[in-house]
Symmetry: C2
Subunit: 491 residues, 2 copies
Amino acid sequence: MNDKISDNKKEIGITVKKEEDFSDWFSQIVEKSGLADYISAKGFIVLKPYGYAIWESIRGFLDKKLKDAGHSNGFLPCLIPESILNKEEDHFKGFNPEVFWVTHSGENKLNEKLALRPTSEALLYSIFPKWISSYRDLPLKINFWNTALRAEIKSTKPFIRNSEFLWQEGHTVHSSRNEAEDQVMMVLDIYKNLIENVLSIPTITGFKSNKEKFVGAEYTTTLEGMMPDGKALQLGTSHNLGRNFSKPFDIKFLNKENNEEFAWQTSWGTSWRLIGALIMVHGDDKGLILPPLIAPIQIIIIPIYKNNNEKAVKESANLLKDNLLESGYRVFVDERNGYTAGWKYNEWEVKGVPIRISVGPRDIEKKTIEIVRRDNKHKQVIPLEQLNENMEKIFNSIQNDLFNNAEKYLKEKTKRASNYKDLKKMIDNSEGFVLAAWCGKDECELKVKEETGADIRVIPFGQEGKSNGDLKNCIYCNQSSEKIVVFARAY
Amino acid sequence: MNDKISDNKKEIGITVKKEEDFSDWFSQIVEKSGLADYISAKGFIVLKPYGYAIWESIRGFLDKKLKDAGHSNGFLPCLIPESILNKEEDHFKGFNPEVFWVTHSGENKLNEKLALRPTSEALLYSIFPKWISSYRDLPLKINFWNTALRAEIKSTKPFIRNSEFLWQEGHTVHSSRNEAEDQVMMVLDIYKNLIENVLSIPTITGFKSNKEKFVGAEYTTTLEGMMPDGKALQLGTSHNLGRNFSKPFDIKFLNKENNEEFAWQTSWGTSWRLIGALIMVHGDDKGLILPPLIAPIQIIIIPIYKNNNEKAVKESANLLKDNLLESGYRVFVDERNGYTAGWKYNEWEVKGVPIRISVGPRDIEKKTIEIVRRDNKHKQVIPLEQLNENMEKIFNSIQNDLFNNAEKYLKEKTKRASNYKDLKKMIDNSEGFVLAAWCGKDECELKVKEETGADIRVIPFGQEGKSNGDLKNCIYCNQSSEKIVVFARAY
C-alpha cells in the first residue's frame, strides 16, 4: 500500500458517530481510510490505492468465477456514435437525459455526435452480426471491466451515485430462450455468492417490476441489500433481453435445420457500489470494517519497541510476516518511525484491517502473540506455534459474524404491511423494507412512489405455491393479488 | 477462449504474403486471428476475447513487476475540466488538436467543457497537493490501467494508431532529483525486460531529442523497436518531469529540515502498441506467432480420430491436457466436431499458438506424442513420459529464437551514414535505422525531417567515452558533434 498519511494535514480518526450523522460518517470514512478523493467536476471521484485495491480484490474474485463459467473478457471503446445508440428507441430514451455528448475534437465539430458509454448494449450489438452466423458460434459469452458514464445532476455520493463508475458488464448470446434464462440465473448466483459469502452482505433476490426493469429488457433480476438507514441499495442486476435487441440489430443465426432465427440475449452488471455497501453495512464509529476475504491487507503487524530493542522486535515482526505470507495471507508490517503504536492502531482501525497483531519484547520472550479482531475488538493471546491454525478459524468467524449481524438487522427491519396506512407510516419512519401485496399494475406502483417515496425494489423469488398469509390484496387498489413485493426507499 | 469461427462467413487463412503487402497482411492477421474488430466511428477498435487475453497477459506480467517495485494502482475519471488541463500551458498546447471535448449532458450545455483524457498528468497533479505535505508522504508511486483518447484524423491502424487505446500510465513524486532520475531508469528497465525477455522484441533505448520529448517533460527516455518495413515503433517512454508540473500545480513538501520544497516527478507509459509490435515482428505468411510467455494458449491439442475410436482419443487428449495444466501450462483441447484436423491446424496457426500437439490412436498405442512448433514448423515425436521436461526446453528455445531472429534483422537493417546524401538514400530506400552524428540543434533535426521524413527516434545510451568512428560531424550542418542518433521513419 502506497498511500501515506500526512500527520499535519488531517485528523486521522472518524469524528462523528454512524448513528448520529450517517451521511457525514460515510464521507469521513471514504476520505480518512484513503479510499477515494474528489475532482473539481461534480460527481467524479478518484480511487486512491487502498480503494482501488478493494476493487481489485472484488474483480479478482468475480473474474475467476466468470472465466470458470466460460466467459471471456474484451474491450469496447467508450464512445458510441449517436446513430447506433438510436437503433433501439426505448433503450436510447431511457438513457438520453444522462448521456455525455462529445461534439468536438480539437477545434473541429464532429460530423456525428459521440455518446460516452452509459452502457454498451447498442455498440456491442451493432457488431454481433459480424461475429455470429451459425448455431456453432453460440453461446457467445463476453464480459467487459470498464466504466459507465451517466451524468448525475442530483445529489452525488462516492461509490453510490457518480457520473463515472467502475463496473463490469457481461453480454451473452444464445440459440434458445431456455439457455438465456438459465444464463440470467447463473450470473445472479455468481453475484449472490460474491456478495453474501465474500462481502458478507445478505441480499434479497428476485425480479424487478416492469417500471424498474432495465430499458429494453424482457425482465430484470436483482440483488437488493439493506443499508443501516433502512434504504435499499441495488447491488447487481441480470437481464433477460429476449429478442428485443437481436431484432433491431439483426443478430441472427442459422439453426441446426439451416433456418435463420433471431438470437436470445442477456446482459448483467455489478459495480463499485459494492464498496459503498461494504462501508455502510459493516463500518462502525472507528472506521471501515473489511471482511477478510476481500481485505487488501488482512493482517497488520505493529512492532512495539523502545530504542534498545528496536532491532530484535522488528526482526521478530518480519519473521512472523514471512510465516503468514507463506501461508497465503495478505500481511503488512507497519515499521514506520515517528508514529506511536496508538496512532498506528487508530490508522489501521480506520482502514478496517480485519486482524491486528502486536509484537513486543514480552511476546518474543513468551513465544506468544496478541491478536485483536477489528470487527468485535476481541483480544486473544495465543502461542506462536498455533498461529496458522487459529488464523483460518478467526477469519471464518469474522466472515460469518459480519454476515449474521447484517442478516439479523435485515430481518428486524423487514416488516409486513397489510394496509396502505401502515405501509405509509413504516416508510415515513424509515423502518426499512416493507413486504406488501401488489396487483401487478404500473399505476399502483407509481402512486405508492409518488405518495411515499418508496419503490418496488424486488419481487422476491420463491413465492410460487406459498401462502401469502395476511397479504392477499394489493396494498394500493385492494384488488386481489398473487405477488408479495418489497417496498422501500432506495439509493 | 470464446470467440468462435463461422466457417461460412470468412476465409480462415491469410491470403497475402507479409513481404508483398505488409499493410494488408497486418489487417488480415488482426481480423482472422480474432484479435480485434472495428466500429463505425473512425479510429476506434473493439478487442475480441483473443486480443484482450494477450493484453491481460501483458498486463499481468507488468502489473506484478510494478507492484513488486512498490507501485500501487488507482482509478482516475476519463473527463478533465478544461481549467485543469489549462494549468500547464505547453502541455495543454501539445495535446489540444487531438482532444475530444464533452460539451453537453443530455440536452443541457455544460458550464465548463470537459476533455476526454489524452493523458492524466494535469488531472492527477491537481489533486496531489491534497495528498502530499511532508517528505514522509514521499515517494508516492501510483499507476493506472486505463485508456487514453486522442482524436486521430490521419490514417489509423489497429493497435498502432487509434483514437482510444489501452495503456498504463504511471506517476511518481519524489523528494529529490536523484530519486526521480533513478525512477525513470528503473521503469525503463522493467519495460525492457517485458519487451525483450517476454515479448522477444529487441529494442534500442536512449533519450528523445528536445523536439520529440513528452510535452512538459525535462527529458524523455524511450524504447524503440524496428518493424519489418524498416520503420521505427516507439514501445514505451519514461519521462523525468523535473519540477515542470510541481510548480504550476503547487506540489510541495516539507523536507527534513522543515523547509518547503517543490517535488520532483516522473511519468511513464506503455500501451497495446506492444500487441501491434508482436504481430509485425513475429508474424509470418500463415498468421500470428506468439512467444510462449505471453500466449493466452501455449499448447493446442488436436485429437485425431474416426468414429470408432473417438472416445478413446478424446480421453487421451484430455488426460494430456490435465497433465500439462497441472504443470502450469495454458493448454486447450480442440474437440469440436464438424471440422477436419487440417482446418483446425490452419486456425490455430493463424492464431499463433506456440505449440501444437496431435493425439491419434497410433500415438496412444506407442505412448508418444507429436509436437509441432509454430515459429519454425519443426516437428518432433517424443515419448509421452518426457513431455514435461521437453516442453520447458522448447518454450525457452522459441523465446530465444524469436528474439535472435528479430535482433539479427535489427542489426542488418541498422546502417551508418557519414554524409547527408547517404542518409537520404538510405531513408528513401527504407533501409531501416540510420546512425548519424547530430549537433543537438532543433533546426538540423527539423530540416532532416522535412527533407526525408525521418525523425530522430532515439539518442542511444552508453555513448560516453566511446569513439564515434567516422561519425564526427553533424549529418546536416556538418558542425562538430558528440552524439550519434538514430534517424528513421516511424509509425
